[in-house]
């Protein structure tokens, strides 16, 4: 990946020392070096507005790893973290994992009313592969479970089709939570009582756990959308990708790379659903835009 193409203009942070928050002060240069490194690994760009958030999270990692200066921590990440364990910790604290059940529900409506019927109709009868849907990124799992629940509730054909849902994220900690399927009231607030009763068991006040049958029907696996080696394993593998509220953390180049990666992961005629108001750089040269009654969706050409 190429280097970061933004410059941040920050004021008031200078030589290493203790900051007001009690942690190490991170200089502008150190921040830029860190941002550059992190961008190359993840495609995520922070920008000035996130500076406080980043500094706090970095300080957690300095403390946890016993590094006394930002520079020594960065050196460690670059040269001594050969198995990438610290990088994974860092990714886990730096990502923003906000999500909830039935977020942007109109896209699920589009899925059952338009996308699935079209995919089913376009398949040759001899094609017996399951229809595969990828929630990338899935964060703590609300999105892939919502997909399953919405289809079970609203898509009668679900019973005669093989549908395979996979949830992936760069953050391994959220994936563990997704697998556990344990949620609080806030997360399930947009679900009806009936839906809650059918697909959750309560485990203590304000605790909702996805029933085992549903939990075991979804695969969770870590994936970095901007890692070509990882994405190569998913070539031509999905009919639909839900990629919502991820591209907002990327710059133009990582968006472009994500678009390339999704194109390759989709089967011909496959669809990408982005979050509302998200767009992909140069999307129009790779994908067609389809306007369905409920949503705009991008489609990989059929031939």
């Amino acid at each position: 990946m190429s280097d970061v193409r933004h410059t941040s203009r920050l004021n008031g942070v200078s030589e290493a020392g203790r900051s007001d928050a009690g942690g190490l002060t991170i200089s502008e240069k150190e921040f830029e070096r860190f941002q550059d490194f992190f961008y190359r690994k993840t495609g995520i760009i922070f920008g000035e507005a996130k500076r406080y958030f980043v500094d706090r999270r970095l300080n957690e990692r300095f403390l946890a790893t016993g590094h006394e200066t930002p520079t020594s921590y960065l050196q460690f990440l670059k040269f001594d973290d050969t198995r990438g364990q610290e990088l994974q910790h860092l990714i886990n604290v730096m990502t923003v994992n906000e999500t909830y059940f039935y977020r942007e529900e109109y896209q699920f409506r589009c899925l059952v009313k338009s996308l699935l019927p079209e995919i089913v109709a376009a398949r040759p009868p001899k094609d017996k592969r399951p229809i595969r849907i990828w929630s990338l990124p899935c964060a703590t799992g609300e999105e892939p479970y919502s997909l399953a629940i919405y289809m079970l509730e609203n898509y009668p054909d679900v019973d005669r089709l093989d549908i395979d849902i996979v949830g992936s994220d760069i953050d391994t900690q959220v994936l563990a939570k997704a697998q556990a399927g344990l949620y609080d009231d806030r997360s399930v607030q947009y679900l009806s009582d009936a839906v809650r009763a059918r697909y959750f068991k309560t485990s203590g006040a304000g605790q909702w756990q996805i029933i085992d049958d549903l939990r075991s029907s979804i695969d969770f696996l870590p994936v970095n959308i901007n890692d070509r080696r990882e994405m190569r394993h998913h070539t031509n593998a999905f009919d639909i990708i839900f990629c919502r509220n991820l591209l907002i953390y990327f710059d133009d180049l990582s968006r472009r790379q994500a678009a390339e990666a999704m194109f390759d992961a989709l089967r011909p005629g496959g669809f990408v659903c982005l979050g509302h108001s998200e767009s992909m750089s140069r999307i129009s040269s790779l994908f067609g835009v389809r306007k369905f009654p409920d949503a705009f969706v991008y489609q990989k050409p059929r031939s």
Binding site: M1, S2, D3, R5, H6, T7, R9, P130, A148, M151, L152, V158, D159, L161, D162, I163, D164, I165, V166, D213, L214, S216, S217, I218, D219, L221, R228, R232, H233, H234, T235, N236, A237, D252, L253, R256, Q257, E260, F263, D264, S281, R282, S285, L286, P301
Partner: protein, 214 residues
């Protein structure tokens, strides 16, 4: 449960496509790109070349012959990732392309490459083809690079072609600062009989007036 659970098994990768780490990969990949009848194989080859800067010139050269849009897109992305002098020059060579979509793609790519494009765009300002000079200015408009404003002011002072100058006016309206106003007005003075020049310059001056130098 009606939803099927099938263990995720990676579909077997396209074995014709060598990984970049394999020796001789550049030649093999370029050969696939140049000769394979399968667009999917050509696209995969173009994407795999991203770790191989030596391929930049040949990749760029292929762009003009490539018929499949998804392969052209992969070539451009890979050139942005390579982001070398050769990649920038190879892309800029399409300023003269007959195809508007290719030209637009190339301008956007050069902007995404960023600062590294700046010196080469500056060279292109000396081209004898005014269109090529205009595209170079379009790229510069998207670059956050210190030298760019100075080059644009130079265009305003010296470029004989009015349309090239107007492109520079438009670019400065986007990225210029208050101190560029003098150069803008001097450009308007070079073309006193062209009402549109006066209009564009007035607009640009208003835009830059609030932009204090950093």
């Amino acid at each position: 449960m009606p939803l099927l659970r099938s263990p995720v098994k990676p579909p077997s990768a396209d074995r014709e496509i060598p990984l970049p780490a394999e020796s001789g990969a550049v030649d093999t990949l370029l050969q696939i790109l140049g000769t394979s009848p399968s667009a999917a194989a050509r696209r995969a080859a173009a994407r795999e070349l991203d770790g191989l800067p030596d391929a930049a010139r040949a990749l760029a050269a292929h762009l003009g012959h490539e018929g499949a849009p998804e392969v052209r897109e992969a070539i451009v992305t890979t050139l942005i990732e390579i982001a070398s002098d050769a990649a920038v020059r190879g892309l800029a060579d399409y300023f003269g392309s007959e195809d508007a979509e290719t030209r637009n793609a190339v301008v956007e790519a050069l902007r995404q490459i960023g600062g590294l494009s700046a010196p080469i765009m500056k060279e292109r300002l000396a081209s004898s083809d005014p269109d090529e000079r205009i595209f170079a200015i379009n790229v510069m408009e998207g670059l956050d690079h210190a030298d760019v404003a100075a080059s644009l002011r130079d265009v305003l002072a010296k470029d004989p072609d009015m349309n090239v100058g107007l492109a520079a006016v438009e670019a400065l309206a986007q990225i210029g600062r208050a101190e560029d106003a003098a150069a803008l007005r001097a450009f308007a003075a070079r073309f006193p009989d062209e009402p549109f020049v006066g209009f564009a310059v007035r607009l640009a001056c208003e835009r830059v007036a609030g932009q204090l130098s950093s």
